[in-house]
Symmetry: C2
Subunit: 705 residues, 2 copies
């Protein structure tokens, strides 16, 4: 027996004799040779799988082993991977742990996964998404290029993964968070005990003695279970340190279980993990379960990005390649972030005893390898809304294998645990004021309510505000244009970028600024069409569209024009229209209107850089008193943190999930009407935006200037 | 993945490529090459283990593979086994599934494991337990003979395993048993459901829909758990047969769990198994869970017999060879009996959904591979008294792997679940009359009480009444002398045997008859010493002892004198003394005496053939009104049957276990005094046996005749 080379927390007996490497059953089952053995094709376990495929003789196996093995090097980092058989550069990048954007999920339609071939060659399908110049410079689309020999590729500057701007909530916020927890109650507890040794007059069984000790500590032993494995270890564990032991006990909804008994009763540090699994990015908090301190916070891109930007593409990918592949991707993301957090804290993963995971319904299904395919098909049914307490070992999270995992419950296919987690954090369900809660990420989820009632809905906002489907759209990474203003005279923009670096693209807040400025400087009309002539120096033709040149090539990081086209504007108008229509319909269902809303809370990474004034100008947010708006940050990880520390908050999450009324917009006629009305800037009914109406340029209905 | 060759209910990926045979992890871990591969030494998985042991090169492995491989054939059945390395004939017999008695556990002290070498040779240690005649006839002791080449051996007639006389309780009894159950409540239920398909207005998750369906069937869904594996199958299982499903739900003490969802809601036959795991023999009932009918009953010898007759020797053996070996032995016994029962009923093991196991504390520990070693060491502590519900798959019982297993709880190391099971059956704890319950098997357990209170104790009766430690002692198998009377004039015995076959030995009831007859014909005195002269034709010298010839060689099955020696008598007197002292002390502790006892209930296989009158004559049972005695049969399996069918009876078992007061005799001075007084026939205080006193021959104190 030994530890799996891919999952150090798993004991296994599958030994690769040549490399003296162990692999667990899950790795073996995985058809991906790169996953199931680090030594790949030269490993006998791989041989075995080849044999099963019908290659019987040693020579044939050897042949299969060597004839199609190719090395791929990814520059500038120099990461290498050896691949076998036919495989695209996108898949190879994924295996090498190289992050490439592929908004469309590898269908060759978004054009984001560009690579430059430096040496060697690939079999690329000719592609219209590449310019003649790019073709000359050996650009290829990774998803459309089959590896046919050793190859070295370079990731172009504009596509390089940069550090996410936000890791967590910041120290101040986590300090405030801590104060929300009165009493730390972990799910899995380690209880140190010193028991009375047995005697002829006190000869109860070892288990009864243990239960007696636990009862003294206040546990309800009438509801205490124990597994066969622990019973087998009981006698020696209790005697090894002279009746001093530590009991690991998990407290479930309706019963408790003794999961492990270890000799000795020295109190060791217990750690917890709160995870926000976003479609785009993942945030991990490493928490000291003794005092609730956030020891480390890490964040990174969800590796599933290679399968598409939004949950629909992820589900399609899981139907094609299997749920296991997407589960593995997000597990690797999470486990790398946990590992990074542990390294910075100098801690051991086996000390992690409690985990809370918050994510949307698709993310939790994929993570847990639960079939997600019915989420995207009418009537949009998730497999599970409320999850039982799981063990880290059974789902592959890097922690003590018996660590308790609480998954934030989510009421519907498109309103998930991340939203419930957000509510747990905000506490709006405990208070009187009528609150509109909105999380705009790759999807837009809205909650309306107060302590009396809660309604929720999801509007398919699409990933435009996160840069998806926008030519030069990107997330709020280094080099992203985040603020823009346009000179009314020269129509020349001035802007700032994240990290004050040369611009690489435009992030959500930058795009909102840009549309608002273009509208109020008269560059576009209320329908989102460009009013300037083709010949204007800031305008260029982009297929059948016109596009506004935001930054000329000379000033950019990658020496290409950053443009903003009518198509880009249209995508954003569709997104903002869906969100605004969502607000309207939800209020309408409750018999209310915007004037009755006391607070608007904006969650999610996108919200942080949002200029509320500009968002109202383009009709994304309603035109109500500005002091009603508040940015509340990554409320998903904040709620996960609270649930990690307290049973009250876990119960709260279950109560919120069960108490919410979900409104389905997909078949809602009113939503379709409101959506259509919202496809103007700011809105068809300008009177619902009085403060914007005042600012609108007089000549907005004129023909092109 | 495939099914383990030894455990068809287990999926595994360990494939022996040469034989296309799968082995599960447990089999691989087992050091016994015979267990872990049916193809043994020629199997690459075995090679692997040799490599680990330091034999690195292929040649060395080949050498290790072939140089010490020997075939052993056991006649008269012709069973074969190939063994490697050094091994005794006893171990080889065990591996071949050949039953040999080895009361002493293979220490070479009981002389019961005799075999005749027909061809080939073994390295035997010279042994005093073999007569010169036997040595000439190539007799060897299996436990003292190392295999050093191919060999063919024959099991002597007197040692051949015969069918046990009692399979179960008989049809009449099981019909009566059935009437004790008002309402059948299995632990694991299969609930057929037809669910409403989801729609946009009813879009709860699959799990919520399932829970809703279960709630309609009356289940408490607030306490319902579900594992990750079932969640992963949920979506497809529910849709495969258009929302018709069958849910397997287990009801535990304080929570329930959905263990499996299968498509389709056709009602299938559900079976149950009630098992009595005795130290000596094992009884299995196969039960139809729909109507409670006992479909088949099978019984057989516990294969652990090769490790000794009593629980102490079994524990010693487990300390030497590991608990896994003894667990495997009893599992093979149980699974063979289940298989036999299924065959006779034409049923599939996967239809077995519920299992109840009743056994003494050592038997349940060994079966479950729970450390038993502290049971035999002061202060005699078992690991577990009350077990949680287990799954058949996790302990290796041949049934649906998710089948629920209820283990009868036992209050102490020497009063186990078999006794609690017996009480559940008798119901003495529900009634007014003061009852003395006794189960004399390889140990003697006593319970005294009524519905107000229960006291229990164990007296180390030893295995004498089951034939252990008695030269010609045997169990009530075919050919056992079961009734004896001796002609007062000629002192010649007449007897009957089980099955009316030529005598092979003497069983418990025969020995009691024999002692009583020898006492009342004056052959022995009250101290158990033979009063006849050496020269009497019925007397022969046996070492320093004298022995009475019960059957001369010519009339026996194996043409050897069946004798009964002073040592044999002494062993039986020790046993009966311990039991009687146990009665006395228990009554004394309760401030009572024999006159206050309303009923004496005798349980266990031994009790069936017991002549109460004779048992009183030798002082085993108290001299009270004969109509107070009642034989109640194998109450352990009967109680297991009741617990299989009804939660009330399972609860009753837990209540009995928790409500019993256990009296430890090991350090009890009063017990030692009473025991010493009881080492006479019938007792030192003859006045406590008034009806025996009347019958005693006048010249009992005379010198030898």
């Amino acid at each position: 027996m030994g530890k799996c080379v891919n999952h150090p927390d798993r004991e296994t007996s599958y030994l690769c004799m040549k490399h003296n490497t162990y692999l667990c059953e899950e790795c073996l089952k995985c058809r991906d040779p790169n996953i199931y053995c680090k030594f790949r094709s030269s490993c006998p376990i791989w041989f075995l799988s080849k044999r099963k495929e019908g290659l019987d003789t040693e020579e044939k196996v050897k042949k299969a082993d060597t004839c199609d093995e190719h090395k791929v090097v990814f520059m500038p980092d120099g990461k290498e991977v050896v691949v076998t058989g036919s495989m695209t550069l996108l898949d190879a990048a994924l295996r090498a742990g190289v992050h490439l954007n592929a908004s469309c999920g590898g269908k060759g339609s978004c054009g984001k996964c560009k690579l430059i071939v430096e040496s060697g060659r690939v079999e690329s399908r000719p592609d219209v998404l590449l310019t003649e110049k790019e073709k000359k410079e050996n650009y290829v689309l990774a998803c459309m290029s089959e590896i046919s020999g050793d190859v070295k590729v370079r990731i172009p500057e504009e596509a390089l993964e940069k550090k996410l701007k936000v890791a967590g909530m910041g120290n101040d916020v986590t300090r405030q968070l801590k104060e929300l927890v009165k009493n730390i109650q972990p799910i899995l507890m380690e209880i140190p005990l010193e028991l009375e040794p047995p005697s002829l007059v006190d000869s109860v069984s070892d288990l009864d003695r243990l239960n007696r000790g636990l009862k003294k500590e206040g546990l309800d032993i009438s509801r205490l279970n124990i597994g066969i494995g622990v019973m087998r270890e009981l006698a020696s564990a209790m005697r090894d340190e002279n009746w001093k032991i530590t009991a690991s006990v998990i407290q479930k909804k309706c019963s408790s279980e003794i999961l492990r008994i270890t000799p000795g009763n020295e109190k060791l540090r217990s750690l917890g993990i709160a995870v926000d699994v976003g479609t785009t990015s993942v945030v991990v908090y490493l928490v000291d379960m003794e005092d609730g301190a956030v020891i480390a916070a890490t964040s990174g891109h969800n590796r599933q990005a290679a399968c598409g930007d939004d949950v629909i593409n992820r589900i399609i990918c899981s139907e094609k390649d299997g749920v296991a592949k997407l589960s593995q991707m997000v597990l690797m993301t999470i486990n790398n972030l946990i590992s990074e957090a542990l390294d910075s804290a100098g801690a051991d993963y086996r000390r992690i005893k409690n985990v809370v995971i918050s994510g949307n319904t698709t993310m939790t299904h994929l993570l847990l390898k639960i079939e997600p395919k019915h989420i995207r098909r009418e009537p949009y049914i998730p497999s599970v809304s409320e999850f039982p307490i799981l063990k880290a070992g059974e789902i592959g999270i890097m922690a003590d294998p018996i660590a308790a995992v609480f998954i934030m419950p989510g009421p519907a296919s498109y309103v998930g645990g991340d939203i419930v987690s957000g509510l747990v954090y905000t506490g709006l369900h405990r208070e009187d004021p009528l609150t509109l809660f909105i999380d705009v990420g790759t999807n837009g989820e809205i909650v309306l309510g107060n302590k009396e009632w809660l309604m929720t809905a999801s509007c398919s906002a699409g990933p435009a505000f996160e840069g998806g489907g926008i030519r030069w759209g990107m997330r709020a990474e280094e080099g992203a244009i985040e603020k823009v203003s346009i000179d009314t005279g020269t129509l020349t923009p001035s802007f700032t970028t994240v990290g004050n670096l040369p611009p690489r693209g435009i992030c959500g807040s930058g795009m909102i600024d840009l549309i608002a400025e273009m509208l109020f400087t008269g560059i576009i009309d209320a329908g989102g069409k460009i009013r300037l002539e083709h010949s204007h120096p800031r305008i260029q033709k982009d297929g059948d569209d016109l596009a506004y040149i935001v930054v000329p090539a000379a000033e950019t990081a990658m020496e290409k024009d950053i443009i903003f086209s009518e198509t880009d504007i249209h995508s954003l108008v569709l997104s903002k229209g869906a969100v605004y229509a969502g607000f309207t319909v939800l209020l309408n269902q409750a018999g209310l209107d915007f004037s009755m809303v006391d607070r608007v809370w904006i969650a999610g990474g996108f919200g942080r850089y949002l200029n509320v004034e500009r968002a109202i100008m383009i009709g994304l947010l309603p035109d109500i008193a500005r002091d009603k708006f508040k940015y509340i940050g990554n409320s998903s990880v904040a709620g996960a943190y609270l649930a990690l520390l307290s049973e009250d908050h876990r119960k709260e999450a279950r109560d919120i999930c069960n108490g919410m009324t979900y409104i389905d917009f997909s078949s809602n006629n009113r939503f379709m009407e409101e959506f259509t009305s919202a496809l103007f800037l700011p809105h068809t009914d300008i009177n619902s935006f009085p403060s914007v109406k005042k600012l609108m340029p007089s000549g907005q209905d004129d023909k092109r200037m």
